[in-house]
């Protein structure tokens, strides 16, 4: 499930209870610095993904605020401890007011 802004999010297909597993996120976004000019000399306005939040069954795991210091097509890898089966939900916003949402089910065995 995803809206507006595109992403690719990867977690292991299944994890053991208590295991710490990596979450890999790649967002499609130019992260415009506001310093670029188009062929007519007009400035391309500043527009970056300024916030990214990951929630695990409603509890925030990682909440990041970012500037143009993050490279285009932002990527993150962070680690989550598997408490219980459930949902990992992701949400991010850019300066133009566009937003992206994604969620996936986490299989916890054992």
């Amino acid at each position: 499930m995803s809206t507006d802004l595109l992403s690719r999010i990867q977690v292991p297909p299944s994890v053991r209870r208590g295991e710490v597993f990596p979450v890999r996120v790649a967002l499609a976004h130019p992260m415009e610095t506001g310093f670029r000019h188009d062929e007519n000399g007009r400035t391309t306005p500043y527009n970056v993904v300024n916030s990214f939040v990951c929630r695990y069954n409603g509890v925030v795991v990682l909440a990041s605020s970012m500037s143009s210091g993050i490279a285009a097509n932002p990527s993150f890898q962070f680690y989550v401890r598997a408490r219980e089966p459930g949902e990992l939900a992701f949400e991010w916003h850019d300066d133009e007011g566009r937003q992206g949402k994604a969620s996936l089910h986490l299989n916890v065995v054992g």
Binding site: V20, F21, M31, T33, F35, R36, H37, Y56, V59, V60, V61, L62, A63, S64, S65, M66, S67, S68, G69, I70, A71, A72, P74, S75, F76, Q77, F78, Y79, V80, R81, R83
Partner: protein, 152 residues
């Protein structure tokens, strides 16, 4: 063999450094580069050196996308964990690269991302622990081709 030209160059550089014309780039082990945004975050609180490791190439051909791994030495238990990581650049037009809060389910104090760097500089990561203490790490990156080259 040192030519007379090299000797003169060295003497000139030494004199310039003494006069403060050439910034001495090397930082002492216990020091952090002076970044106003970092000073604002600290707000006179103590920033200790250590526990934060920055894994970044020493030389980046292109500043547009430099891989970075931040690792903080922390058990990440319920009572002793990293609550936030702040990332600063010394020379980027926007020195605050990112501020990342970590929740109780973050199982390891490790984060990978890719950053932009406008030229050769130091970057600083500050980890805020659950007991309120602040720990920092720094790394220097030589950037061959800077990001934001369109900047006027």
């Amino acid at each position: 063999m040192i030519t007379s030209f090299q000797r003169r160059r060295r003497r000139l550089l030494a004199a310039a450094a003494a006069a403060g014309l050439v910034p001495a780039r090397a930082l002492r082990a216990e020091e952090f580069p002076s970044i106003p945004a970092l000073a604002t975050l600290l707000d006179k609180r103590e920033l200790r050196k250590g526990r934060v490791k920055l894994d970044i190439p020493a030389l980046a051909d292109n500043g547009n996308s430099v891989p970075l791994t931040i690792t903080v030495d922390s058990p990440m238990s319920a009572t002793d964990r990293v609550v936030a990581i702040h990332l600063f650049s010394e020379r980027n037009p926007r020195p605050r690269i990112a501020a990342i809060e970590l929740g109780p389910d973050a199982g390891r104090a490790e984060l990978q991302t890719r950053i932009r760097l406008a030229g050769t500089q130091h970057i600083v990561a500050v980890a805020q622990m659950s007991d309120g203490s602040l720990w920092g790490g720094t790394a220097e990156v030589i950037v061959t081709q800077s990001a934001c080259t369109d900047e006027i």
